[in-house]
Amino acid sequence: MPESRAKRPTSPHLQIYKWPVTMGTSILHRITGVGLGVGTLVLAWWLVAASMGPDAYAVFETTAFHWFGRIVLFGFTLALVYHALNGVRHLAWDFGYGFKVATANMTGLLTYGATVIVTLVIWIAAYASMGAF
């Protein structure tokens, strides 16, 4: 094999491959969607526990407010916010807007940023409603 060919990287080569923004947003949309499907079980548990009375609700609260439960719930919040925001992006595409590569990249990065900010705002609001501040 000639020298020049041997050193040429094959693509997609994971160590040097530059992921397009839109590829990341698309994959994340699907992963968060599947994750939220699992999250519906927590929603069902919350509603059922509330419908059964204070004792069942206390069991739910103990689990949900455990530090591990909080991490899981924070993850579900991130997933829900991301999937909702990126979903709006998809709806805009369905109407034919935002297809230019530069625009799609920009809205993708905006979605990432907005997801983090909105999620933090929700959690700060939730802690505030619990009288944490």
Partner: protein, 126 residues
């Protein structure tokens, strides 16, 4: 050889035997879920850690109960439609695909039904 015009074939839904229902319902539920998710996030943030009496009083209010029912039904239908695509994309073996599609749809209906009964129970009891 067919004497049907292209338009006639499209109207007959073509060889796929179905039209754009899946695509359309996915978008309908998505559009519905945008405001419903805003409401859902608000109610969860507002009542996280609240005493049981306050939670059921809020969820039992007719407007909130109706919104929660809409959120649950639209959300789980949206989930069933979305997971169908995921299964169809990655699972090629006919048997496994069929089994997973059964599972996805059964799970969606079961979870939705449990949530609906719970919300109605809250609305009636509290």
């Amino acid at each position: 050889m067919t004497i049907q015009t292209p338009l006639g074939r499209v109207r007959g839904l073509g060889s796929a035997k179905s039209g754009v229902e899946h695509f359309w319902h996915q978008r309908l539920t998505a559009a519905a879920l945008v405001p419903l998710t805003l409401w859902f996030v608000w109610i969860v943030a507002r009542y996280a850690g609240a005493p049981h009496v306050d939670v059921v009083a809020a969820l039992g209010h007719p407007i909130n109960a109706a919104l929660m029912l809409l959120f649950v039904v639209a959300g789980l239908y949206h989930m069933a439609l979305g997971l169908r695509v995921v299964v169809e994309d990655y699972i090629t073996a006919k048997g496994s695909k069929l089994a997973l599609l059964f599972f996805v749809n059964f799970a969606a209906f079961a979870i939705a039904m449990v949530c609906v009964v719970a919300v109605l129970r809250i609305a009636i009891r509290f």
